[in-house]
Symmetry: C2
Subunit: 494 residues, 2 copies
């Protein structure tokens, strides 16, 4: 192009934007660290394991949060807010629960210069503080179901190496806490909530996942049964996404949450809890990104379209004016930004916006203005498309949807390609140690076999996929050879 030289001169810094220096396929762990911080999505802070969400990162969370919240409200769930500090004696009320959480609780012991009479836990989750109030608020069957949710931040002091977003010491989440008059009614909620989480992860985050039931060993501390959406990361490790816990009457008994039923008998309520967290953003960045940077799915991108004007000293005024005009036109419908910084060359800008994962770039120069078209570049495929100015809104709308679908389908293909089968335990071990990913295999249901598999292969059962349980008849446990009760997904995990 004719204006190449001018552009080069304009680049005061000269260098490329601070990018990613390793290949995703060669060193995923280092790639991930660079990808989440060099892209201004999040950043490390002075507190170990605590992240700052920068505008792009927080916008993504806020958008998925509001979408989830709207669906919760649609199905009748109401928001509440409970204190972040929980007195130690409350935390101790449910035996399994405290065993699960107390090793990672952050304890407040002093206020100002005074030592507190009783230690206070920063909530690792809010069952114990919420359910004491539930016991007070629920009196009769008329008060049920009580379906409350809160959006907040929690602290879990991981002692293992924290991984930003995927395993942070503080994370943002929803915690739904519902109470019903019967177990049947409580159980009906499960598919509704899992469906909401599945829609959000698919439609907003472009993330596939495997829905299934957790094993007793891996279930939530205090629950009867847990269900999850499991994600597979590019390094072949599995990470647990949103989850749903059927608590039965465990907490109801510990906290005396009772009601007078229609038959005038006093009964314990039946409870569920469920959550989706900022961990999903880690999964998203890890899944969609490439060697050029991260890729933010269009629905949660703070900037969906960046317009990069291409000009030289002669045509600068015209091109910038046309870029502004296009911005105003697209801005009505899409989150649009014009990059008119005069110190960087177009090439520098292309690199920077690719690094930051903006879904669509529009290049607009004198040639395009004359031809009444623009060059539209997809971040997900790199494809360059000439689009007539007259069709621009329509085409961009289509493209944003297509990018979301493509990101989702690409991730699903990867997931499906990495679900392996094994004839025997040796094959399972080999696969886990070799290419990694998930080995789907029959399991007898005993914790003993589950422990042995973990010990000998490093793989845990991530969950037992809902859609595979039909295949079970006549099959034998991959470890002990006894009759299998479930098809389980074995994988190493975060």
């Amino acid at each position: 192009m004719a204006d190449k030289k001018e552009r080069g001169e304009k680049s005061a810094r000269g260098d490329r934007p601070k990018g990613i220096t390793v290949k995703k396929s060669e060193n995923f762990s280092e790639w991930y660290t660079q990808a989440i911080t060099n892209t201004e999505f999040v950043d490390y802070t002075a507190v170990s394991g605590g992240l700052a969400f920068r505008p792009d990162g927080y916008f993504a969370w806020e958008t998925m949060q509001r979408a989830t919240d709207a669906l919760f409200k649609e199905v009748g769930i109401q928001n509440v807010y409970f204190p972040m500090l929980i007195p130690e004696r409350l935390l101790n009320k449910e035996k399994e629960h405290v065993k699960g959480f107390s090793p990672e609780v952050a304890w407040v012991t002093h206020a100002g210069d005074s030592k507190l009479d009783e230690r206070l836990a920063i909530r690792p989750t809010s069952e114990t503080i919420m359910y004491e109030s539930y016991a007070k608020w629920i009196r009769s069957w008329r008060d049920l179901p009580m379906r409350y949710n809160q959006w907040n931040s929690v602290i879990r002091w991981e002692f293992k190496h924290p991984t930003p977003l995927l395993r942070s010491r503080e994370f943002l989440w929803n915690e739904g806490h519902t109470a019903f008059a019967s177990q049947e009614e409580a159980d009906l909620e499960r598919d509704v909530i899992l469906k909401i989480y599945e829609m959000i992860t698919r439609d907003y985050l472009a993330l596939p996942g495997i829905l299934g039931k957790k094993t007793n060993k891996e279930k939530f501390a205090g629950a009867l049964a847990s269900y999850s959406i499991e994600h597979l990361l590019p390094d072949g490790l599995v990470v647990q996404g949103p989850d749903f816990h059927s608590d039965g009457q465990n907490f109801a008994k510990a906290f005396e949450i009772t009601f007078i039923d229609r038959d005038e008998q006093r009964k314990y309520v039946h409870q569920n809890t469920f959550a989706i967290s900022t961990r999903e953003l880690g999964v998203l960045l890890a899944t969609h990104g490439d060697d050029k940077g991260i890729i933010i799915p269009p629905r949660i991108a703070r900037i969906q379209i960046v317009i990069v004007p291409i000009y030289n000293n002669e045509n600068m005024a015209t091109v910038l004016m046309q870029a502004k005009a296009l911005f105003m036109r697209l801005g009505v419908k899409f989150r649009t930004h014009v990059d008119d910084r005069d110190i960087y060359s177009p090439g520098w800008k292309f690199n920077e916006w690719e690094l930051k994962g903006i879904p669509i770039r529009i290049e607009l120069g004198e040639k395009e203005i004359k031809a009444m078209d623009v060059v539209v570049v997809r971040r997900d495929t790199g494809e360059k498309i000439k689009v007539k100015m007259a069709d621009i809104e329509l085409k961009i709308g289509e493209l944003l949807n297509e990018i979301n679908s493509n990101l989702y389908m690409r991730a699903r293909k990867f997931l499906e390609a990495n679900i392996h089968h094994a004839k025997n335990f040796d094959e399972l071990k080999d696969t886990i140690k070799g290419r990694g990913g998930i080995v789907q295999a029959p399991w007898c249901g005993s914790t003993e076999c589950e422990d042995k598999v973990k010990e000998e292969s490093g793989a845990k059962i991530s969950n037992m996929p809902f859609d595979k349980q039909g295949d079970i008849k006549g099959r034998k446990c991959i470890y002990c050879g006894n009759e299998a009760k479930h098809i389980a997904n074995f994988a190493k995990s975060y």
Copy 2:
């Protein structure tokens, strides 16, 4: 009415809903405690000074929060999120700031069973953790202005008797933290933000307030100057509402937040901070409520309209069906609820919804169905209005606006009636000790006089109202008689 007896029989519990047992004018403090908890708006919890926001309470917060957030975005502010835990050494970086906050900081000293190397403060406010990142993120004038905001919860361990919502140990708020290249630019933000807060308090909370500048003694710890909206409560005490702080370069110097300006010189940024919190909900309940209960302004009411069907055994099916039809019609546009509980009489229900402050009640019985109208009852005035079914949406829409205006005007009248003037310091003392409220008087600007007034009358300077500073010429300080520099509002405060 003919169905009175049936209604009486239907009331299984017989009694009135758990209401408020004292008169607001006779014992405001007890009235307030009952008003906020007996109405299911908020509730006490097991942790001292920590409240649970129940659905009505959280809906009110969420609604004012989203409205504020939308206005912030409109003026170019972006959301971020920073960790809730702040290392002690960071908190100590700005001298005035740490002096102001450390006496009320909740300290985390342990994680699980391990003692931490360094104590971590639960944020009382986030300057110190945010500004360390700002120092890293801001490089050149091109990065400015940087206008970030976060919505979170903070802990300030009040040792005085905490008052729910008005002075809670944990509260929800926004904290805006912006950085500019020049003080002039930074100062321009002040009126924009105060206008946003004024709009939210007026249009959503129906609350008037007095805009003005705080004195040096009362300003934010670390700021050059603070500005506030002050509210007057029914007991004659003043409470500080939303505020805005001009921080100048204080924090910039402590945290080394510098940028290379257009002239290639390295300079410190100029900063502002601003906040609105859940305290506003306390002011709102205290201001609008009456002896029957609280009154929730329509825009933030989770339920705006409650339909109470009035029926006997014969016409029950017809009336309930018509109530449902009306619900479906109104539900399209307004947050509507039908109270079809069969154990309570209409009278019982009227009392309960008045207690909970639902803005509009609609009574619908056989008589109304035949006449094709309904009885609409305003919570704010108690007025009963017959409305033709054909006009119902229009009329309800008008009424909701009218209720908001009326609540606002009523509160403003009270505020104006309680701004007093004093010829001399004895009059000021008498007024403060007698009927209370605000005494507006000239002040020389010295902290000495400010301290003396406090000592001798109990009144602090809440702020110096913007719209009264023209009146200052030739006036003398109410305490020392020297030339006055400001008109100040003296009042006792929470």
